[in-house]
Symmetry: C2
Subunit: 417 residues, 2 copies
């Protein structure tokens, strides 16, 4: 099943909002064995949406639209679908009822704009949206499935999970054609081109309908193996074989697979060994703690930390010495080490990671340009510190600092096996 | 100038990566007065890219491609462009030189894959990329501009800023047609449909070529006014008039405009009044501190904080009483208030915000379901606390907690004027 995604909204086109819905939809559809052919984003324009629907209905088996279902005049999707399917709007009693219940529970008046959301095209399957006011809609015409979803992420995900994915999955199971299957290996500590050199020309070991993609990121290069086949069982065996082949070549750089991340692999080790971690953050201001507490169940290993943005708090909380701050400056090996050692003692954990750096764009000097970051890691007997030189972008420097801090912890945990 | 963006990469299609480049490009192009008509994302396929180039070259004045310029076999953009323009590759000496310098500085060997990146189409303008290995390319054919950029965000942004945006801006300045101009008002504390009811039918006060969009988010609804006109001066006057008209109707809900955010408006007030803030975070694990330290210069108001993920640290650091934890639980008005009061005292700031909640998906109960969050704000004489009921999604609950914490601080600062 080939799928196209259409995101509708001026705010996405002009870049006021990042299109995270498309990534979620792409992932969810790939997961059930569909082939996501393209994403298209257009503005709030009936004419553009009609053009796109006419075009894509000739190219794919399913079109998933998101956005443009709100109660205001700039929301044009429902009206466009009525035109496209030559349909009429009728009152849907269950939707009206749920709008009334929702308004009552929240103590809000129900205005005409909200009531109009219960007027829905007569030909569609209505997909209930208990998380919001606009229901989803599903049409089928000339063997193409059309889905229209609200743009609010939690509502879109809810309707997809409750209604659309199960329905598409059963369609796909009835199909006889080839479906794509993927497996991803996660590497770190080696650049893309060096990895490609070691692996060699993929054509030598890949058969037809098989692929290998190199996906670089701040966290390392991911190797995505793809196999197109009718049979899930065959594809899984073949993915295992290719994984084995790649592991023989570059296994020393592989730290995980699939939806794992360096964070999840690292915190799994902590959990498994019953070890705890705390953080002392300066330039990242809490981002590392936010990462360690990102997963449910993180209280098993993450205890907390100090945000020592000011030098006064570096001294007061993590017991960094005034002498080191004056002699070496807040962004230095000495201060990073003292932050980690002092933090670990005060916070009473097995490990403590500190980050201190010049995130920028101001505050750099010749000796310590913007992007200079010191990260230290202390355990009960050692402390190690590393200097990094990132770039001029504040937000990227903070993200890369967090990624490197997690990589340092992973490396130390690996050595302690 | 109508612009289309093409993002190339299987990893975007299948949702392994969120397409934040497209948002950045959309914003940057809109900013210089271009009209971003659509974003298209396709996989690593020469055939798909060729089809898209043929199609879009008939519809827009400029096509900006990103991705597919890496050194591995799955990167197909350069090869596709050679086919599309019926061109040949030639060695570009300056690119080769910069590749060599880069490799020498980093102590890395230069392999054939890297050297091949200096082979570039003969017809293109080469756009230097000091941040990476693959340069950008710019072609012009039959009055359409084609730009090809690497997908690495920092490299893409660098090449756009250094080369592409100045060039497109000078093209746009030579055009005589209408260009879009925007102004955005930021509201909070009122839902989209109620805002639309107060504002009334936009057709009544909008002229032709003017628009009003309602853009909802966790932080409130943004009202984006649009004016298409030949003259920047006319458009700016008209935007001011429309802003004035909207402010008369819904001004009490407006807290800022343009690229401001509730965070930037709130921290500007802190800075202006010389006030300081600290945080004591439990379920958000550092996200609020990360928000307060997001902007350059935040050390003027943000001092730091405690991440008290464990109850032990809530007691030890913020001096939350054992009695409150036992009697009311960690997610309670009492504990939130004690966290804020104790944190403020220990961290020695004017304000302190605490967050404690059940982010989920586990840990809820009938009385305190997943999504229950208490936020407290203490100053030198008061403490206030609010209970929120978000939903079942951990990551959204954490984000909304941060948004509401900032909103509480904003409201208190407004009252203290």
């Amino acid at each position: 099943m080939n799928i196209a995604l259409i995101t509708i909204g001026d705010e996405i086109c002009i870049g006021q909002i990042i299109n995270s819905n498309a990534a979620w939809l792409g992932h969810a559809c790939t997961d059930i064995g569909a082939n996501v052919k393209r994403h298209v984003t257009i503005g709030d324009s009936k004419e553009e949406l009609l053009k796109e629907l006419h075009q894509l209905s000739r190219e794919v088996d399913c079109i998933i639209m998101s956005g443009g279902l709100g109660p205001t005049h700039d929301d044009k999707t429902k009206d466009t679908l009525v035109t496209f399917f030559n349909d009429t709007l009728i009152l849907d009693e269950p939707t009206l009822h749920s709008l009334k219940v929702r308004a009552r529970l929240r103590g809000l008046p129900l205005n005409q704009r909200n009531l109009d959301q219960a007027l829905l095209p007569s030909q569609c399957n209505i997909l209930a949206n208990p998380r919001g006011t606009a229901p989803g809609m599903m049409f089928e015409k000339d063997d193409v499935i059309y889905v229209s979803l609200p743009g609010v992420p939690s509502e879109l995900k809810g309707i997809m999970t409750d209604h659309v994915l199960p329905s598409l999955r059963s369609h796909i199971e009835k199909e006889s054609g080839k479906k794509p299957f993927f497996h991803t290996l996660l590497t770190k500590g080696i650049p893309e081109s060096a990895l490609a050199d070691i692996i060699g020309e993929p054509e030598i070991f890949l058969k037809q309908d098989e692929s290998l993609a190199f996906l670089p990121s701040y966290h390392g290069v991911r190797l995505r193996i793809g196999v197109m086949h009718e049979e899930k069982e065959y594809a899984e065996i073949r993915l295992k074989e290719l994984e084995h082949l790649l592991t023989e070549k570059v296994g020393e750089y592989v730290f995980g697979s699939g939806n794992e991340t360096l964070l999840s692999v690292t915190t799994d080790i902590l959990k498994h060994r019953g070890k705890t971690i705390s953080v002392v953050e300066s330039c990242t201001g809490g981002l590392l703690g936010a990462a360690f507490s990102q997963q449910s169940g993180s209280s098993a290993y993450f205890m907390g930390g100090f945000l020592t943005y000011s030098n006064a708090l570096k001294m007061q909380l993590a017991h960094v010495s005034k002498a080191s701050l004056e002699q070496y400056g807040a962004v230095s090996k000495e201060v990073a080490e003292e932050m980690a050692i002092g933090g670990r003692r005060a916070l009473n954990t097995d490990f403590c990671i500190s980050i201190t750096g010049i995130a920028g764009p101001e505050g750099g000097s010749d000796e310590k340009p913007v992007g200079t970051v010191w990260i230290a890691l202390a355990d009960d007997s050692h402390v190690i510190a590393k200097r990094f030189s990132f770039g001029g972008d504040r937000s990227i420097n903070r993200e890369r600092s967090v990624a490197q801090a997690i990589a340092m912890l992973y490396d130390v945990l690996q050595q302690q096996v």
